[in-house]
Every structure is written in structure tokens, then in C-alpha cells.
Symmetry: C2
Subunit: 772 residues, 2 copies
């Protein structure tokens, strides 16, 4: 953990150049717009350590799986987020010597991620080995309004010499995934053309036939005057460039504007790709850099209006929460229901695949509260569209009916192949059911059940029905051989969380059936018919709900993570010598598995999801037992603990956990930020504030808040959208103010007291009424 970034309310700032932290910065300063994005690589050549990465959403590669010993049911491939054409490149040569920060003396370096406006800028002075000095300033962005467009302004001033500067904007498709299992390159060239004022390049993936066309155009100005003329077109394997020599005097300013359109066969016909790219590109170039930038600033202003959180009295916390919100908005915009939220967004390749249970458990609540409800709905429909594949997956594992959603996927097929995860970490099915409940409960959109939700619920309930079995000796239904959210145990019997979410799914499915029967009888009949739903099935679900086994310990008054948990040696993390941590780097897998130490919330995850069904005492006993043995080595862990700690009035613990989640990447807490950001866990940070400190819950259609101040801030505020209204909740030590920024009135409960907040007005509640 090394803190080298400057604290600022709205920006991430790096004040000097250090090759040691370059790959971390490449992750942190990443740009994206939900459609494409990439790491903060330099425009000019760079020979130091770097992970060059440009990614197009939904363009992936089914890389051949690598496992030691094959077992029946394993997926054939592992879907990789595909590194695609590097479109930001502008090589600079000074009198034949490449400008390369790994080989210069660099001064006055400053890199800024302007989160308010959505731009990445950089300036530096470089002194080459021969003493020539240049001053460079660059700014680039990935357009939020024109999803296929990226734009760069790159300025060079020769400080102490006159001579020839060679400028080569290029598109380079000869790229490789760092995590390619067999060192293979995944792209073939389809066609290309380099010209004097730009060029284009079309590649296709070796499998699945994804096509991506990148087209670039540029203008070069010297002291404001255009000088494109004498460019040399260069074509190489999967590469196009235009090379220009510019003669300059000391003090002249050369400015390169590079515009790029990246289009894919996901959105255009194969024959139309070059046209589509050229059309988008020409429109962008005609609009010009300043107009594009203005659009960008305006688009981000709108995003922030919906989702900003303001923290007063703690700039570090302020920066952190904005960074999390900014990255989430860069990663996913909800406009394309074929897309989802990859664990690293557009910031790296690790983990592969695009969709984990992170989406349902962590991201859906964020998008529900900070964007139009259609966004969260699209995330749900994504799973609905994968229902047939999830049914196939269950068949593949030998289940006669039901659906098992994959642990990791791109297209609905499973693409992860550790048996203890793929085959056993089946609680993901519960989170997918829970997201439907969460969406309907939050939005009130019960029509969703008849349209899409019920089918998913029934097929998941059917899976649970077959996955449990009746154990004579216990006179209970048991579920053997599962891995819970805590991946530091696996192949355990009766994981409380999984059993609980399984029976909860059946309960909610029955409730949804009941609702439809009473309120949408025609649709109900259609669905019963389509699903072939039998009375014997619902009867069985009721029997399972009544008789499922929940491991618990009466003496401690806690639920047991799994059958044998108390046979383990229980040691608290505080009693472990520091050199043992993090366990996943210091201990063998064997030792981790046998220990009591927990990677992320497990029983507590269930108490958070089903919080309205358990009283504070129960939550407290379980929290007091489990949190002290939890090492939080998943980025998804601290947020849930922060939320529960807030609810239990454990202010210090809540704040400690909040810090751990909020600055995870900015402070490189887990020593792995260079691989990319922990995008999905950023939603957890948001939850720590809004569900945790803010105490947001929705019960029976009513929004409830129980705000507390973590005690380190003067005040804080967050925005939430709820059933058409947008509310700004401001919390200080003295009071809670809720301002309705829309003209739709909102009903709200604050500390158990009911309020109506009329359109464009505020109400204030006394924060002393806080109960814990």
C-alpha cells in the first residue's frame, strides 16, 4: 500500500512521474463510457512496464480453458475480456529519437483524472539524452454522448531547440491479452487503409467472429496553423499509421488533434462497419474538439446531478466516493441489455468474463438509486435472456429440471472451471432471485414479475428443490457440497446463507405466483402453462420451506456458517501476528481452508439481504461472532460489514470498514490495482454510505432512512432516486434535510417518523432522534 496520489475533491492527481507506479496509475486513471474504454496508457511510445489495454464492451474471446485435470461438466472455454486495437497512440520522434518517458529526464509531470468533466490530462517536460527539451500537454476523453468516439488533444513545444519533430498517429491491432492462456493472439486482420489524413483498420476475432473497425482522423497545427499535408501512409500487419515530419523553431507549439471512432459488429452489419466508423468519425471531427469536450462536460454534469455524494470535512473521503461513483458510471450505462458489469470494467483483464453475482448483490442497488429504473431493469432482463442457457447448465450437471446460472459468464454459458466454484458456489442463483425482489420492492414495478421475473424465479426454485434432499436422520432437508460466499471454505454441508437464500427464493416465488394469480390471472395461467408448473412442485417448495435445515448454535445464539464450523479452532484476526496477513498471500490454501478465517460476509450477507426478518439482537450476536474472524480479503467484504456495523451502532467499525472499501484502489490496499480496478465493489462503497450511514431501506413500498454521522465528517449528502422523485439527503450532526429536486412528491420515513416531501421542497428531521 503506497499512497502517492494527491487528495482533491474532484480530481485524481499524480504530481510526479514514477515508473514504479505507472501500471497502478494506468488502472486508476482509466477512461470508459460503458461502450468502450481503456487504461491510462501514454499516447507516445513507452518502453517501461506497462499494461496496454483497450476494451470494447461485449467483445470477448472464448480462450481455451487451462485446468490440471478435466472433470465432467467443466466448461470448454474461459471467456476473456478482449484487449482490442490500441487507438490512442501518437508516436513522437525528436530529430529521430523517440520521445519515451522511460528514457528521458521527466520534470513538471502532472496527470489528472478530472472526474467532474470526465477527462484525462497530462503535462510534463522531458529532457532527452541529447539535452533537447520538450514540453508536452495532452488531454483525452471517451465521449459519453457519442459512444463510439474518443478524442485527444496532444501539444508539444520544443523548449530549447529548433529542428524536425516526427508525429505518427496510429491504430495498432497487433495486441495480445496479458492473460491469454496459451500466449495466443486473438485477432485476425480483415482490412485496413492508411492515408495522409487518417486511416482505418478492421479486425475480427479468431473465434466468434466479432468485427471491430477503428477509424482515425487528425489535424496537426503549428502555432494554430494546419500542417497535415506531407503525411506518409504506413500499413503493417494489423496496423495503420500516418507519419509527418514537422519543422519547428524553439518555442513553437505543435498541436495534434486525434479523433477515433471504434465500431463493432455487435451494433452494425458486417458490410457497414467502415461506413459507420467513417460517418461517426467525420461528424466528430466536424464538430471539433471543443464541441466534443463541451458535450462531455455537460453529460457528466447530468450524471453527477443524479449520483453525487458530498462529504464535508474530509477531502480524502470525498475524493474516494466520487472516484467510485465515477468509475461505476464509466463502466456501465445500462443502455444495452446485452451488457453487464465486469469486475474490472475497462481497466484490466483479470478474472475474465463480464458477469458475476456482484452485479445482483452489489451493483443493482447502486443503479436502482442513482439512475432511471430502466437501467436496473436491463440488468435483470440480461439474466432473463440467459434463462435457457442456465437451464442447459443445470442439465449438464445432471439436474432434471430448473436453472443454474453461471458463476462467470459472457453469453449465459458458464466459463469458470474450478469445481468448487463452478459447481458448488450456487448461492449466485439466490442473488439473482433476490435482485428481482429488490427491483420490484424498490420500484414498485410488479408488472415485471409477469413479464420476466416469475419465469426466472420458478426455474431457480426448481433448481433448489432438486439440489436439497430429505435427510432421514435429521428429518430435515439438507444441502450438501456447496461453497458459500466465503470462498475460504468450500465443499461444505448446509451453508446457512445458501440454505436460507434457497428457501427464501421459494417463499418469494410462491408470493409472486400468488400475486399474479390474484392480480394478473390471464398472464398467470399463461405462465403456469408455459412453465408446466405442477401443484406438486409448489407443495414440495412449501414442505422444503417448512423443513429446511438451518445450522445454528444455541449456546452462542448464532447461525452456523456450515455444519462443522464450530469444530474449527476459533481464533480472532486480532490475535494473528501481522506477518500472517493477507492470508491469501501468506498461507497455503490448505491452511486457509482449515482455518476459521472468513474471506467475506457469509452468514452476515444473509442478515443484510433479509434484514427485515431478523431482529437487532440476532444480527448483533452473529456480527460479534463472525466479524472478528473475517479477514475481508475480498473487495466485496468491507461494505456489507460497514452497513451492518452502522445498523448496530458500531460507529468505529463502520467507519473502519468504509475506509477499507472506499480507497481500496486509490491506496492500492490489496497490492493489485495494477491489474485493474475493483469496479463492482465500488458499488459496495456507495452502499456503505447510503445503506450504511444513511440507513436506506425500503419496506412495503416505503423508503426509510436512519442516517447517522460516522463521526469524522462535518456533514454529508447523497442523492437517491425513488419512484420518480430525486431526493437529496443531507446529514449533519444536528439534522437531516431531505430536498426533493423533482416535482414529484415523495413519501419517506426517517427514524420511524413519516414525512411527505413535496416537489422542489425540503423537510428537516432532527438527527438526535437517532436510536443507536
Amino acid at each position: 500500500m503506497k499512497q502517492y496520489l494527491t487528495i482533491d475533491e474532484w480530481s485524481i492527481i499524480e504530481e510526479s512521474f514514477d515508473p514504479q507506479t505507472q501500471e497502478i496509475s494506468e488502472s486508476v486513471f482509466s477512461l470508459g463510457n460503458g461502450f468502450m474504454g481503456g487504461r491510462a496508457n501514454f499516447e507516445e511510445q513507452y518502453s517501461g512496464s506497462s499494461l496496454q489495454g483497450s476494451y470494447m464492451a461485449g467483445v470477448y474471446y472464448p480462450d481455451k480453458t487451462r485446468v490440471g485435470w478435466w472433470k465432467n461438466g467443466y466448461p470448454e472455454y474461459f471467456a476473456k475480456v478482449l484487449n482490442s486495437t490500441n487507438w490512442i497512440g501518437i508516436n513522437i520522434d525528436i530529430e529521430g529519437i523517440p520521445l519515451d518517458l522511460a528514457k528521458c529526464t521527466v520534470s513538471d509531470f502532472r496527470r489528472v483524472l478530472n472526474m467532474k468533466e470526465g477527462t484525462l490530462s497530462r503535462c510534463f517536460t522531458a529532457t532527452l539524452e541529447d539535452g533537447k527539451e520538450v514540453k508536452v500537454e495532452s488531454i483525452r476523453f471517451v465521449s459519453m454522448t457519442r459512444q463510439e468516439i474518443g478524442a485527444i488533444r496532444y501539444s508539444i513545444i520544443p523548449v530549447n531547440f529548433s529542428g524536425k519533430i516526427t508525429i505518427t498517429p496510429y491504430l495498432d491491432g497487433d495486441v495480445k491479452n496479458k492473460d491469454s492462456n496459451y500466449d495466443e493472439k486473438f485477432w485476425n486482420e480483415v482490412e485496413k487503409q492508411a492515408g495522409t489524413e487518417g486511416g482505418h483498420l478492421t479486425l475480427k476475432t479468431k473465434k466468434l467472429d466479432f468485427h471491430v473497425t477503428s477509424a482515425m482522423a487528425f489535424d496537426i497545427l503549428v502555432n494554430g496553423e494546419k500542417v497535415n499535408a506531407d503525411a506518409e501512409a504506413i500499413e503493417q500487419e494489423k496496423y495503420v499509421a500516418s507519419k509527418m515530419n514537422v519543422s519547428v523553431q524553439s518555442g513553437d507549439q505543435i498541436v495534434v488533434y486525434k479523433y477515433v471512432a471504434n465500431v463493432t459488429s455487435r451494433n452494425h452489419g458486417l458490410g457497414q462497419l467502415v461506413d459507420a466508423a467513417q460517418t461517426a468519425l467525420q461528424a466528430a471531427k466536424e464538430a471539433g474538439f471543443v464541441t466534443l469536450l463541451t458535450e462531455q462536460i455537460e453529460a457528466w454534469r447530468e450524471k453527477w446531478k443524479e449520483s453525487d455524494i458530498i462529504i464535508e470535512g474530509d477531502v480524502s473521503a470525498q475524493q474516494a466516493i466520487r472516484f467510485n461513483i465515477f468509475q461505476l458510471n464509466q463502466t456501465y450505462n445500462g443502455e444495452d441489455d446485452r451488457l453487464n458489469i465486469g469486475p474490472k470494467g475497462f481497466t484490466g483483464e483479470k478474472y475474465g468474463g463480464s458477469t458475476y453475482w456482484d452485479t445482483e448483490a452489489y451493483c443493482v442497488p447502486f443503479y436502482l438509486s442513482t439512475a432511471d429504473s430502466s437501467i436496473a431493469r436491463n440488468l435483470l432482463i440480461y439474466r432473463y435472456k440467459h434463462l435457457e442457457k442456465a437451464k442447459e447448465n443445470a442439465r449438464k450437471l445432471g439436474f432434471a429440471k430448473g436453472a443454474l446460472y453461471p458463476m462467470v459468464t459472457m453469453n449465459g454459458e458458464e466459463c469458470h472451471n474450478e469445481w468448487e466454484i463452478t459447481f458448488e458456489e450456487i448461492h449466485r442463483n439466490g442473488a439473482i432471485a433476490y435482485a428481482i425482489y429488490n427491483y420490484v420492492n424498490y420500484t414498485g414495478d410488479k408488472a415485471y414479475l409477469g413479464q420476466y421475473g416469475l419465469e426466472v424465479l420458478v426455474e431457480i426454485s426448481r433448481f433448489w428443490e432438486e439440489r436439497v434432499h430429505y435427510a432421514n436422520r435429521k428429518d430435515k432437508y439438507v444441502m450438501l457440497g456447496v461453497t458459500g460466499p466465503n470462498e475460504y471454505e468450500n465443499n461444505v454441508n448446509n451453508n446457512w446463507y445458501t440454505n436460507r437464500m434457497a428457501s427464501w427464493t421459494m417463499e418469494y416465488t410462491l408470493e409472486a405466483l400468488d400475486y399474479l394469480k390474484k392480480n394478473e390471472s390471464t398472464r398467470y395461467a399463461e405462465l403456469v402453462d408455459k412453465l408446466g408448473l405442477q401443484e406438486s412442485e409448489t407443495a414440495k417448495w412449501n414442505d422444503i420451506i417448512a423443513k429446511i435445515y438451518y445450522p445454528a448454535d444455541e449456546e452462542l445464539g448464532i447461525f452456523l456458517q456450515q455444519d462443522g464450523f464450530l469444530d474449527k479452532e476459533i481464533i480472532q484476526v486480532k490475535d494473528l501476528a501481522a506477518e500472517n496477513l493477507p492470508l491469501n498471500q501468506k498461507w497455503s490454501w490448505d491452511r486457509i481452508l482449515r482455518s476459521c478465517f472468513i474471506k467475506q460476509a457469509d452468514v452476515l450477507q444473509g442478515l443484510y439481504f433479509l434484514g427485515d426478518r431478523y431482529d437487532l439482537d440476532t444480527k448483533k450476536r452473529n456480527f460479534d461472532f463472525y466479524e472478528p474472524i473475517t479477514v475481508h480479503e475480498s473487495s466485496l467484504s468491507p461494505c456489507i460489514h460497514s452497513i451492518l456495523a452502522s445498523e448496530l451502532g458500531y460507529k468505529d467499525k463502520a467507519y473502519e470498514m468504509y475506509l477499507r472499501t472506499s480507497r481500496l484502489d486509490l491506496d492500492n490496499y490489496n497490492n493489485d490495482t495494477e491489474d485493474g480496478l475493483h469496479s463492482t465493489s465500488m458499488a459496495g462503497t456507495w452502499m456503505s454510505i447510503v445503506h450504511g450511514f444513511g440507513g436506506l431501506r425500503v419496506h412495503d413500498g416505503r423508503l426509510t432512512l436512519s442516517p447517522s454521522n460516522p463521526g469524522h465528517w462535518t456533514a454529508y449528502s447523497f442523492k437517491i432516486m425513488f419512484r420518480g422523485s430525486r431526493l437529496k439527503v443531507s446529514v449533519s450532526d444536528a439534522q437531516v434535510t431531505v430536498t426533493n429536486e423533482t416535482d414529484i412528491p415523495a413519501s419517506i420515513t426517517i427514524y420511524d417518523k413519516e414525512y411527505t416531501v413535496n416537489g422542489l421542497s425540503s423537510i428537516t428531521a432532527d438527527s438526535n432522534s437517532i436510536t443507536v
Copy 2:
């Protein structure tokens, strides 16, 4: 399962050529001599499906491991049995057309593995596409007396034409392992020389620097007259050959004698390899083919004298048991204590590594009874030499003391990397301790304890001590997160077998300490000092022995395979529809793990090992519960069940299980013989007869027999060596005769009655006294 081999008492015979079964035959007809060996590939070129395989014992390659997700403690490499120079090759061209059985019409084909004499022979008539007909006869062997020598006699008669036949004996080192993880070749060329009368080739492995030199010499005779003269020397990358054109008349007989010496840097200095090869080669060539063959026949006569089993009235069973004994003797001869018994011997590459717990659990009993005790002792010393590596392995997994032997190894280091096996299948440690007990008990060589045995026992006991922990709630020591012998469950708690073998190890270690203290007090003191053994440790072992947890079910009166076993749905194999079997091909891994079905003996393995501690009723209750839910999908399973069934008087079950183990490869029972033979399980077949039907046990230094006739044989006999004497035990329905073939008298108990068999004489016991 396809039976295409002819039943014969002493030979394996294939009567016609079928490309479909070629790879199975290549495995079944393999040759070896404990030092080198290879598959029954053809001498001449063959373009059909084939697994070309030549192997040198102890020459391996640390191939880069392939796993999906790395975990701490995983080994860096997976040791591959290394496919090395193909030295059997003799290409034949008929007027420029290669003789290739995949492209000819083949008649009168016959391939014979003569187990009595240790030779592989083949004859056939081939009609080429152009109608030319040749009659070929070949015979080859790997010398049992000159371990580095192989010899081939290859005869060709042109039947219906006169013309030119080109003969090219060669050495080809440009070979690849079929199971290479990254399609890599593992050899580099060091030097080579091709000449007109032979040549040599030295290769070294890309890692570890193993050198292997192969040298060949040959004679070519036409109608008995030598014609080597005009050979053309050919050198290519990792390849030497000598090519000769021979002009022949229809009916002439061309005979090629090819002699090869293969020497390795394991036995010779790097600078001496070529000399060593040439010396051995010239001696062999001078001795000549007939002398070498005579030596071979004599050597095998000696082997059979020690280890033959005769079955009367069942030629199929007779062939099968000889095949098993033959292959075991080909695989390992016990002369080199750096070697061990690979699961596929010299017959294939699958599984990699050379040493599994198979050695201690299955092979040691075979070698103890059929060879000089120094052979089994060498197998034990092999582990003693790996003790430091086993201690390192335990440290790597986080244990403060003790030794954990690897699951799979070549040099003492772990080279298997499924966590549920490598980290959890720790019962192997128990088998290694048990082999010491078994050896000392069988041979009476108690001096072994002070020399080697005790150190291994103490370090294994220390491992168990740390691996269990005291569980307050149970007031017992428990062992969590293990995989028992039944690999169809893993990461279970309190596997009865593992807990039992752990406490047994501690008991035996204490007994050995006590013996040494009383009988070898100086050595005892030395060892206590060397090991740093504390009284607190032995006290702890006593406490664990007293308080270890043995899962059991009182109602059923059985030991439980693991804590949660009875929560599983118990279904018998007979109630499974046939299409479900074999489970490992038909079911997902998930379904297998959650089922009750057992791959191989687990609780029953313990009841076999510790058979003198449990009464027949206990064995019966456990057998009656576990055998019906066992699918025997490990080649190591049927033999243990056959032995226990014999003991329990379940004659039909014993015979059923015997058949399943004895003809496993000959009848390709598991559809995988083409990968190589199940060499280690062949020792289990031997045990089924000698320990099963013969009822051999050793209690308190006395050899005990309780022979029964499985009911399908007229009579049977087996040989056992015991404390210097060699006894032939002949069993018929009426009586048991024990003949002492040595002049050392033997004490023996038959059906609870004591006998002394004087040197070179016999005793007879009435087999009606059989009790079950």
C-alpha cells in the same frame, strides 16, 4: 470392453491385425526390465493411430504445471515420465514403397507376448498396394540380465517378387510426450554419429540435464550371409540411421539383427556415456542374439520360480494372473533404491510421476512375498531418502514440524496440483508408516527401525499431531478438510480411515520407540537427540490416541466414512440404471461428489490394513454397508474388496471382484488400456489370490494361511517367500499342501493349526477345516 486376445496359459496372443485395437495392444504387449521399457510399437513405419513410447526409469521432466487458478502451496511443476529415444525402429521399403501395415493388406498376423520367456514376437504377411507380398517375422526383448540392452531379430521374405528392399535401422530422439502440457518437446541434441554398421545419439533434457545415449549396431543377413557393406549413414536433427539397399530374389530371407544399448547419466558420468553405451553394445553384439535370448529365458525362469501362481481349470484366470506378475516384474526389480513403481510402468505416460501411495499400499506386499526382502526394503529406503523433502513440503503448507510425503513424486517433491488431492489426500502418510510396520512384521527385520524406520515414523506422527486439533464441543481431537482414499468425496471432516491411520501411526511410533529404548538403547539415545524428540510430544500422541474422534453410527454398527456421510442419500449401485455407469464418464463431478457412491475402498481399506484389530462381525457390517455403494472406478478398488469378501466367506463376491481386477487391462475393462497398463493395481490382483483366497496374514512373526477355493478352479498354487524360505502353497478342494522349496525350515499356521515345514519337504492340511 472388447475381448480380442486369445486365452493361453503363458502367452498373450493377438491373432489378427486390427488398427482399432492397435493402441490397446501397444500397451498390453509392452516390454520392460525395471531399467527401461516401452510400448509394443511396430519396428517398421506405421502411419495408423499409435502412441510411440520408450521410457528410461528415473529420467523425467518437470513440465510446467497447468492449472486454472494458482493457490499458495501448489507445486511449480508436474513431473512427466519422459518419452525418450525410439530405439526399436527399422524402416523397410519395398522398391521404394514403405512397408506400413496401415497401408497394406495384412494376413496371417500374429503377435505374441511370451511371458514365460520375456519376448515379444510378431509375424504377418503383407500385400502392398502394387501386389508385392512379404512375409515378416520379428522377435524382440529388453534384457533382464543386461539392463541397458535391447535386441531385435527382424526377418523379411519377399514372397512373389524379386527386387530391392531398403532397410533402415535408426535411433529417433525427435519424440514428444503425448501429455506435454504446452506441446513442448523436452529433449535437446548433444551429439550423434551415424555409420555404416550402426551409430549413436546423445540427448539431454531441456531441464534437469538428464543425458541419455543410445547406440545401435546391426547385422543384415541374406539367406544367412552378412551383407552390411553398402550402408548409407544418415544424420538428421536428433536422429541417426543407416540405410541399406538389398537386392533379393523371391523366397530369399533377409534377417536384420539390431542391438541397442541405452545408457543414462543416472548411472554414468557425462563424459563416459558414449563409451559406456559402446562397451555394453559391443559385448551384446559379440554375445549374439541367441546367447542374449538364452540369458533372457533363464532370467525369467528364475523370476517365475519365485513368483508364479498356477491356476488349474481356468486358463483365462491363469493367463490373467501371470500377466499381472509378468508386468510387475518388468516394471520394477528393486535393484536401484532411487526408483519406484510408476502407475503405468513403461507402458504409457498418463498420470506422470513415478511414486504414489500405491507403492506402499499395494506393491510392497507383492515384493515382500515374491522377492528377496532387500527389494521391499529398497522401496522403504526410497521414502527415507525423501524425508527432508517431505519435511519441506509440510513447512510449505504451514506446519511447524513433521513431514508430509507427496501424493505424486519423482524426487521427493510434490508434483500434483489439485488442492483436494495434494493438500488433503494426506492419508498417504499413513500408508508410508504402515509399509514400515508391514515390512518389519513380515521380515522380522526390527533393525530397520533403528536404521531408518523410526525417523520416518516420528516425523509422520508429528505431522498428524499438528494436523488434528482438539475440538472443545466434542471433547475429541478432530481432523478437518481431508480427502480419503475415496476420491469421490473430498474436503471432508473426520474421514474415519485417515483418523484411524493417524492414530495407528502414533501407536506404532510409540511401540517402535519403546522397542528401541529397550533393545537398542544407544541408537535410541542417538535418534532422540537427532530428532529432538520431547517427552511432551509422546505425551501428546498418547492423548490424541486416547481422544481422537472416530465417526460411527451406532444404529448401523458401522464406522462412518466422514462426519456427514449419513446425511447423503444412500442408494445401492445395483439400483442405479446401467446408463449411469461408469459415473466418472456419465456424471458431472458435482453429482459424483454429492452422491454416496464410493470410488474405492475407504473404511474397508482401514479394516484390511488393521484387520487384526477388528472382529469379523465389525468387518461384515461395514462391508455389507459400503460395498454395495462402491462403484470400483479405481483400479485399486476390487482387490481390497475381494480380499475382505474372501475373509467374510462371500465367495461369489470375492470371485467377482477378483475377475474385475485380474483382467482389467487384458479385457480393457475401464476403456483406457490404450493409455498404458494399470501397473500398480496388478499387485492388488496378486493380493486377491494370496491374501484373499490364500488368506495369508502375518501375526506376531507367524505366517498364517486360511486358503479357500473361489469355487471356479480345480486347484491353484502360489509361492511365497518368508524369512528365508520359499514355500509353494497348493490348494485344492480337498487339501492344502505347503512345499518348502528351500532348505530353511518354516513355521506356519494353517486354519489356526501350527505346522513346521522342513527344508525341501511338504506338509498337507485338510482344507475342510476351513471355517467360513
